[in-house]
Symmetry: C2
Subunit: 328 residues, 2 copies
């Protein structure tokens, strides 16, 4: 198996990528890791099962996605997506510009036949620690009901094959739990999901319940999903910041916080998106994974594990078969 | 001034309402409080500045909103909204069925001329403690760009008159901060807000920044706003629950938590929606306020304070003038 990594993506790249990949290469001897980047000197020589693939440019975090992937054809993101398309690698992972990765995936890797829109599908942490797959969180901000039906099918396959959920429950993000709630989009999507025999639809799910894990797969339009994701991140971050300032306010508080610190750290880690690997772009013709922008070596290692499962469990093949079936 | 309260709304009603109103009546001697309910025996006799207004029915939390306000014409919610319309009272507050209150406000109190849709506008807590007015959070799930422009104007008037923000900044909830981001709705609303001279528009605001108070007024469609509100509530609730279980896990943890407890309680209170009063239904022909379902006596008292400001600051009049102007 060959897994490619973007050396230019993420806050701690390229070192986080090189370190994470080095551990992964020692762990999985059947896999070759391809590091795509501009500077060959960055990669220590003589690393086992690690190759370097040189490109001449890269896409910056602030680059306009569509324009940059059209212009920077020899950038790590574009080349990685092309290598998946051409089967030079089995999967590609980047912690870089999310919009650019989504655009490059769409333009250069392409969609699975029958799938109208790919979806970005991160795992949200839940209190139980199991997590919940949410899609879409922004690949397709203006979704149609049929897109949500397709997300439900793709999400169910991925959740069962990669996340290990047996017969995952599918919820529809909505502003009430009763049937008939919400906007035109959710009302029509509800009807499609109800009829869809390949999934286990449990109905509407409210945003306040997400962390309690009411289902394993949550479908929504990209605009709402993005708001849900960023709001959850923002609220958790703000609360932990405030706690930290409270815990260091006086010396006695510091002492008390020291006692509670192992449990708090464990909890903070459970609530950390990075622990759950990257977000796959489901619906593309091959595995493309968006790792979190703040990925450290461990997050990169987790993303490698996830990419391996994506490949060995033949998720793309399964989706191809499922959507070929629905076309008949 | 006369302020009416729904005796049948909220988890702790009618006692929370009676207690809260009793304190309010002692505090503001210029105000008469009208308690609308089915059972006159509930209200202790001889209370100064407190009247009882009998009705024959009430709307339950699970009643279908539109149907119930059409059928239960002598319910506390419908009668309260009618009394505002007929100027028998200056304001009406209910902690009951949100959908029913919105429907009754629309049908029985009516809109201000020129306003296409009323908006439910709660104050979200922010880390600074100042709060941020978010509208709409669900009165109108399927909003048009023009609705968002109207929310911005109504929100700015309310934020300056009742919340005391001078020249409040207005943000547009979106999935990126750059101009041109988002869906058709946000792109078109952005253009309208940019042109609107009566507000101080600062551009797009991301969901992750809301708790940091990037603006004083945040406008969004009711579907997204509802997801934002419920997700923020859910995440905060889940984190505090988890902290509580961590803090009581061992006796030494309990001891440490005891030391930190005053600060944590203060913080939890700051993050509590109830502390910021109820959510006004802006755009109606008179002040209608939705108090939180879990309102206690203090929350009811806070809602009374808010209703008084709504009336004395002539918020409805200001809105009428503003929208009469834009029609010319």
């Amino acid at each position: 198996m060959r897994i490619a990594f973007d050396l230019h993506g993420g806050d701690y790249a390229p070192h986080s990528v090189i370190e994470g990949v080095s551990i992964a290469a020692k762990n999985w001897r059947d896999t070759t890791f391809v590091l795509i980047g501009q500077d060959p000197d960055l990669v220590p020589p003589g690393l086992d099962h690690i190759e370097f693939h040189q490109v001449t440019e890269h896409i910056d975090p602030d680059d306009e996605p569509v324009r940059s992937v059209r212009r920077k054809k020899d950038s790590s993101i574009v080349v990685g997506c092309q290598m998946v398309k051409n089967k030079e690698v089995d999967a590609f992972i980047s912690a870089g510009n999310t919009g650019a990765l989504m655009a490059a995936g769409l333009f250069y890797t392409g969609r699975i036949k029958g799938i109208e829109r790919p979806a970005l599908a991160p795992v949200f942490p839940t209190l139980s620690g199991k997590g919940i797959l949410v899609l879409d969180v922004g690949a397709n901000p203006e979704a149609k009901p049929e897109h949500l039906r397709q997300y439900a099918i793709m999400g169910s396959i991925y959740a069962s094959k990669v996340l290990g959920f047996e017969e995952p429950r599918v919820g529809l993000l909505n502003i009430g739990t009763e049937t008939g709630k919400g906007i035109q989009l959710t009302k029509e999507a509800f009807k499609l999901l109800e009829k869809e025999s390949s999934i286990r639809f449990i109905g509407n799910t409210e945003a306040r319940d997400v962390l309690y894990g009411p289902c394993e797969v949550l479908v929504c339009d990209g605009f709402s999903g993005n708001i849900l994701l960023k709001n959850a991140e923002g609220v958790a971050k703000a609360i932990f910041e405030k706690l930290k300032s409270e815990f260091t306010r006086t010396w006695i508080n510091k002492l008390a916080a020291l006692i509670l610190s192992p449990g708090l750290k464990r909890f903070k880690k459970e609530m950390d998106y990075k622990e759950h690997g990257g977000a796959p772009l489901l619906g593309l013709a091959g595995p493309i994974i968006k790792a979190h922008g703040s990925s450290d070596a461990k997050a990169i290692f987790n993303a490698a594990r996830q990419a391996r499962l994506f490949v060995t469990q033949q998720v793309t093949e399964q989706m191809k078969q499922e959507f070929a079936k629905t076309k008949e």
